[in-house]
């Protein structure tokens, strides 16, 4: 299935070194990296954050920030032509004609004040002599080719009028309109919902087949790798860990790091269900709704229902997942339950006490029973307050003497596997995963009955994500806490939830035990979500396809 015949190598990177700054002993962001991409082949470059995969792509395009990141050794050849020593003029000629790139954030990658058709047109004006009619025709054809609807209208639309998926299609049309030999795709689907992601992946795959383009596909997501790669290259700390055909790498990873990376990927097959319990219900949401009114000075007010009639039940020691795509209202529900925002109607019962209609003052004693962990570990801790003070803040608010509160903070740090001396440090001295542990410790300091985790592991690399998930599991077993787990990631939901509620456009469309909902979904939307989950055919942690796993366990 792959052909590494040297005659049709499109991109040839050899012993590339990229340093931070011009000095000879500069820190190496890319260290002795070699890889090849052939015609008609997709090479997936995989790695966690900071592995240097994006720098590799920017080096190839000649788009590194001048003076900060400097290629200081090796070579990068595009169809035999050296790029590292090419003039700026030559690089400009090559871009879009021989090599093109699409980026992660379709929301920001397009110029907001220029209609998208004209942005594609710029490529043709810069590199061809076509007249305006020919250019327009070529662009419209290309837009149809990337399966955009109603191309005439979209041609003259501004980017903010288009959806994320449509914008990414525009980016792809722009990149491929001159049929380059090499397409670099830097996490092109990471910012998209799963259903859109699947469409874009299929599109890239099909276009590549039609045109024989070589694709360098950068991603952190093993699922995406399994969907699209012919060959895989794993990077870590700027170095190549291992490379090989997809099947080889997924089935027989040679290096320890690759094995760990693969074992950290949560399986889409739900974990064996825990026995039903008769523990008391600690959290109930009854027909919870949140409506946002956009006021305008004249005319009618627009109403947007971010959540409508959401009913949930959570028992002590259990985990309830709310899954859904962006804009489904899952975070709104979480924030209503914790009363960071006030629900428009409906009720929230916390440990048997209705709290949705309490005033802020009356709510105060109940706050300690429910705590929340946020998505972004870099913003959820006050950078100016020590870790110890952060953790102790809650208990002090509820009357614990400062000394005892700090002693408790020490214990909690131990509980989340951080050394007690972390207490006097500031958040900036910790990594993302460690900060998330601190946030968990802070939430536990009040001995809550319910812990709400709002996309709490989504910003973390898979290996760290696995650790934090294990930690949450361990804490739940030890303390019997109830978890309300909000996530867009079905894999994560499958591994941590007892029950799941699937949300779409503010409504719960399906709800039930995780093992049932995620293996035998009743609703079309849930099925679509599951089908779109990338790499669902693979059981990464056991290094084999799911079909073989089923055979093995049968």
């Amino acid at each position: 299935m792959t052909n590494t015949n040297s005659s049709n190598v499109v991109l040839d990177i050899n012993n590339l070194i990229v340093g931070l700054g011009r000095k000879a002993d500069a820190h190496r962001i890319i260290d002795d990296l070699s890889l090849q991409v052939c015609e008609g082949e997709t090479l997936c470059l995989v790695g966690e954050s900071g592995s240097g995969k994006s720098v590799t792509s920017l080096t190839t395009m000649g788009l590194l920030q001048k003076g900060t990141l400097v290629p200081s050794g090796g070579s990068v050849k595009l169809v035999g032509e050296e790029l590292l020593t090419a003039t700026d003029r030559r690089l400009r000629q090559l871009r879009a004609t021989r090599m093109a790139m699409i980026f992660q954030e379709p929301m920001t990658a397009l110029n907001p004040v220029v209609p998208v058709g004209r942005q594609i047109d710029e490529v043709l004006r810069a590199h061809t002599d076509l007249d305006s009619r020919a250019r327009r025709q070529k662009i419209l054809a290309m837009m149809e080719h990337v399966r955009l609807p109603d191309v005439e209208r979209i041609f003259s639309s501004y980017p903010h009028r288009l959806s994320g998926g449509q914008r990414q299609r525009i980016m792809i049309a722009m990149a491929l309109v001159l049929e380059p030999k090499l397409l670099i795709a830097d996490e092109p689907t990471t910012a998209l919902d799963v259903t859109t992601q699947k469409q874009i992946l299929t599109l890239i795959r099909d276009l590549q087949r039609d045109h024989g383009t070589a694709v360098l596909f950068i991603t952190h997501d093993m699922g995406v790798v399994a969907e699209i790669a012919d060959r895989v290259a794993v990077m870590r700390h700027g170095r190549l860990v291992e490379a090989g055909p997809l099947q080889d790498v997924l089935r027989n990873p040679k290096m320890e790091y690759t094995r760990n990376l693969l074992s950290s990927v949560p399986s889409l097959v739900p974990r064996p269900p825990r026995p039903e319990t008769k523990e008391p219900v600690v959290l109930e949401a009854n027909e919870l709704s949140k409506v946002y009114r956009e006021r305008s000075l004249y005319g009618k007010a627009r109403e947007v229902a971010a959540a409508s009639n959401v009913t949930l039940t959570l028992r002590k020691g259990r985990t309830l997942g709310i899954v859904g795509e962006s804009g489904s209202g899952k975070s709104t529900v979480a924030r209503c339950i914790v009363r960071l925002i006030d629900p428009t109607s409906g009720g929230v019962r916390l440990a048997g006490r209705e709290i949705s209609d309490l005033s802020r003052r009356l709510l105060q004693p109940h706050r300690q029973k429910i705590q929340i962990i946020f998505q972004d570990p870099y913003r959820s801790l006050n950078p100016r307050v020590t870790v110890g003070e952060s953790i102790a803040e809650g208990p002090i608010n509820y009357g614990m003497p400062r000394k005892d509160a700090l002693a408790r903070a020490r214990e909690l740090l131990e509980l989340v596997h951080l050394p007690p001396d972390a207490i006097s440090r500031y958040p900036h001295q910790f990594s993302g995963g460690q900060r998330q542990r601190i946030a968990i410790a802070r939430a536990l300091a009040l001995d809550p009955d319910v812990l709400v985790a709002d996309e709490a592991v989504s910003a973390l690399d898979v290996s760290v994500q696995a650790q934090v998930l294990n930690l949450l599991d361990e804490i739940q077993r030890r303390l019997g806490i109830a978890l309300l787990f909000i996530t867009h990631d079905l894999r994560v939901a499958a591994q941590i939830c007892d029950d799941v509620a699937v949300m779409q456009r503010g409504r719960v469309v399906e709800q039930g035990p995780a093992a049932e909902v995620l293996t035998n979904p009743q609703q079309a939307y849930t099925r679509a979500l599951l089908e779109a989950a990338p790499g669902r055919g693979w059981d990464f942690a056991n290094f084999r396809p799911v079909s073989e796993s089923a055979l093995a366990t049968a």
Binding site: L340, I370, E393, L418, Q429, A466
Partner: protein
């Protein structure tokens, strides 16, 4: 897989964002500005020791004398020693600059904090601030001074009023951004009281921008005071201020330009130094503030 290990415990426990004064010597230009400002401050403090003559002493026989050994910079239209008047003038400028900065920051901080946290106050306060900002600062100041009489206090109040909206808006925008931060929401769910959240999680965010804004207010206040005096709407003319010296020099500009040149030079150096220090402070303390550069 092994749990991530902490960075080596040799990393010192540092307080992030503590106001460090190292930026004052970060580049040669900033260092020169710091020295200039320090010299002007020393000159103001020790004016009675440094000035060769009484700045108020009228010697009609010595009108508009050129520079000489007795009068190093010459004399003005009333025969007063120009150098002595300039030295004493530094006092008024610095007092007004510093006073206005402190006054506008205290008032602006209060308004901004309250407006940033209470919606209904915000709506009213910001309309008032918009109105105040619509009035050109100089016109506002001369109107206030001409009505309430020209003393150093009224001049300071007159200069401070138009600066308050700028400070208040700055604080408000910092508070509005900060209150969306997850760590503030975390504090809410930890049951922290509103005053505690404001003091502990919101106020610290305003310190760096306020220091920077304070230097700009200080520079602009010194400038405005000079303009008020220059227009004849400032502190009474016999008081030696840089603006007053120049205002009196206007009539004799073609005869003796040094009456405008020397105080103008010193005034410019003082303001330039403060502005440069302000820019350096901004770069050092608050990189994000570059976006709000419009002053």
């Amino acid at each position: 897989m092994a749990i991530e290990t902490l960075p080596e415990s040799t990393i010192p426990v540092t307080r992030p964002f503590r106001v460090k004064l190292g930026f004052l010597t970060s580049t040669p230009i900033i260092a020169v500005a710091t020295i200039c400002l320090a010299l002007i401050i020393l000159m103001a403090i020790f004016a009675p020791l440094l000035a060769p003559h009484d700045p108020l002493l009228l010697t009609p026989a010595q009108r508009l004398k050129p520079a000489s050994a007795q009068y190093l910079l010459g004399t003005d239209a009333y025969g007063r020693d120009l150098l002595s008047r300039i030295i004493y003038g530094a006092r008024i400028s610095l007092v007004i600059g510093l006073g206005s900065a402190v006054f506008s920051i205290v008032v602006g901080l209060l308004i901004g904090l309250v407006a940033g946290f209470f919606r209904w106050v915000d709506a009213v306060m910001m309309r008032v601030m918009d109105g105040l900002m619509a009035i050109p600062a100089i016109l506002l100041a001369i109107a206030v001074v001409s009505l309430s009489g020209a003393s150093i206090w009224t001049v300071m109040v007159a200069i401070t009023i138009p600066e308050i909206p700028r400070v208040a808006r700055l604080v408000r925008s910092v508070v509005l951004t900060a209150r969306e931060e997850p760590y503030v929401e975390a504090a809410i769910s930890l049951g922290s009281s509103l005053p505690k959240i404001m003091w502990r999680h919101l106020m610290p965010n305003t310190i760096a921008p306020l220091i920077v804004q304070g230097t700009y207010v200080c520079a602009s206040a010194i400038l405005t005071e000079a303009i008020l005096s220059f227009l004849g709407a400032g502190i009474s003319p016999e008081t030696p201020t840089w603006g007053n010296i120049m205002a009196e020099g206007r009539a004799f500009f073609q005869v003796k330009p040094s009456l405008i040149f020397w105080p103008g030079l010193l005034l410019s150096i003082a303001i330039l130094s403060i502005n440069l220090i302000g820019d350096a402070a901004r770069d050092a303390l608050d990189p994000r503030m570059k976006q709000r550069e419009g002053k």
